[in-house]
Subunit: 333 residues, 2 copies
């Protein structure tokens, strides 16, 4: 779809507005030791290289200023647009740049446009780019140079939600009624639920949601189960984690905006609700919580870890009861 620009005839003076700044590089592995964990922005000492070159055409000695970009470990190029540019000038520069990158054997081309440069979206699309993803303040467009099928990584596909099972010493569970959504006006008492914020750990998001909705302080214990569903929101999928939390305070102060009512309720009363009994998933969740109360059920507990390569903090969740028992038993290499 891209119109080639094999013999560059455009002349640019080295004006500042053409010096598109790029201070980030993009790692683009399709596979990683963790499947998908190492895509990231960040200056890569090994391979990041700024492109801001004068290209001498074969016909005349003409100066052409290419778009500034960074390389990555995966033959990709990223252009991080920051300053306004005349669309026509930008297109000419983009065409020349792609021609240059093609000669270099580059594959994927990423252009990040802040929302202030929305006027450039149309021209980039007309050059054969397509949307990769967008966040409130920018849109990322991509293009694949080679003839081969593109192996560009996919956009985020999932949202992550939590439901919190919080029980006090009297075997009363923390439940709420919501002001909006499917449960409005139904009288159904449910666990506090919420969506994990961008960049937030599941174990921290669960604690935050319980605090926000009910005022109860709690500490995270385990993920008891999780559920993946699809086409939940604009074709995206959901991962919902049923989490057990231990309460550290007991006086409820409900949030008024979203919560109609909140209380501690005997677990049997919660479980006996017709809605819970009638719906397979709620019944499973309720039964898992009851098994947990009996001490019969091990979920996945979080431990803090760092990733191997970037030393970024994060949490790993696994069956620590079985694991620790196995390690102590010495029945392993």
């Amino acid at each position: 779809m891209l119109r080639y620009f094999s013999r560059t005839l455009v002349i640019f003076s080295k004006t500042r507005y053409l010096c598109v700044s790029a201070n980030q590089s993009l790692s683009l592995p399709r596979k990683t030791p963790f499947g998908c964990l190492s895509f990231r922005f960040g200056v890569s000492k090994a391979s990041s290289q700024s492109i801001m070159e004068n290209v001498v055409t074969e016909h005349r000695e003409q100066e052409l200023l290419l778009l500034s970009a960074s390389y990555d470990d995966f033959e990709g190029v990223i252009v991080n647009m920051k300053d306004a540019m005349d669309p026509a000038v930008f297109v000419a520069s983009l065409r020349a740049s792609i021609s240059h990158w093609r000669q270099q054997g580059k594959n994927g081309v990423w252009i990040k446009l802040p929302i202030e440069l929305a006027n450039l979206v149309e021209v980039v699309v007309k050059e054969g780019f397509w949307y990769h993803h967008a966040e409130p303040k920018y849109i990322m467009l991509v293009y694949w140079i080679p003839e081969t099928a593109n192996s560009l990584p996919v956009n985020a596909t999932h949202r992550v939600g939590i439901g919190a099972f919080v029980m006090n010493d009297k075997k009363e569970v923390l439940v709420v009624q919501e002001k909006s959504g499917k449960f409005r006006g139904t009288g159904v008492w449910k666990f506090p639920t919420g969506v994990v914020d961008e960049g937030e750990d599941i174990c921290k998001g669960a604690v935050r949601e319980v605090k926000e909705e009910t005022g109860i302080d709690a500490e995270f214990v385990e993920v008891l189960a999780f559920r993946q569903s699809h086409k939940s929101f604009f074709e995206k999928s959901d991962l919902f984690f049923l989490c057990m939390l231990r309460p550290l305070s007991f006086e409820i102060q409900k949030q008024d905006l979203e919560i109609e009512a909140a209380q501690w309720m005997p677990i049997e009363e919660y479980a006996a609700q017709p809605f819970v009994q009638r719906h397979e998933l709620f019944k499973y969740f309720s039964d898992i919580c009851l098994a947990k109360i009996d001490g019969a059920y091990a979920g996945f507990a979080p431990i803090s870890t760092t990733t191997s390569f970037s030393a970024k903090p994060g949490y790993m969740y696994f069956n620590t009861r079985d694991f620790n028992h196995h390690q102590k038993s010495g029945n392993h290499p």
Copy 2:
């Protein structure tokens, strides 16, 4: 940011190109029984309502055709643009529509623009809209009408990856060397890994990736552990699931594009690799697999379920060993 259009003076004839089609409604709960599961497209019989009205201004009897849209259960309005429109005409119609929706007490306004209508992105942004998300073929823009803080649901935040622990009867584990990424040329043998496709179940994605990379047929057994990490890719987070699979075939046919080598390797040899021993997360994963081999470790097995409201299929993952044992013991209500 939106410029008001309180007294509509624009005259439109009822030409077809103004009849922006909208055949979808959007459910917008901020909270759901599962935290985030019920945002979805789909015609809502209860509340979906097409808007295509003639507005009579206070000055003259003029016809103004508003943008066609659908309502949802949460006071939101969605405009699903399909046909080309002159940008100036579109802006006038959008302003009048927002004025109309404001009078109706609507909150969020969603405009979905296919990539073919990239020329409208700039004008929508100039009306005060911002980007919500984008997929290859469209961009979704949003606007919040009331004075209050917007409670629009967030975009997808996570990508989901899998790593596959596949062991044959000789206690040999299926391992690969990758052609690109961090492990290129390191000689490190690793489990097959991959990214779950949009809309794909974790248990099915793991089976697919093993087949694609090594030609081995396998059936899913359990999620042994998972790991959440952040800022992995364009500020997005990752959930990586370590999965156990049981091989159903044993002859390796490696995929040449991404995989340098593939083999069955004694588990002890895999675990003894300096890289595995040196990196906390790999060591944990390796030790969990060894505990699993000894029969000492219960992970989360998938069971097929449907969601309560939409009857959509999906999988729930939990400790079925403990759960089933508890149910059989009768030690529960």
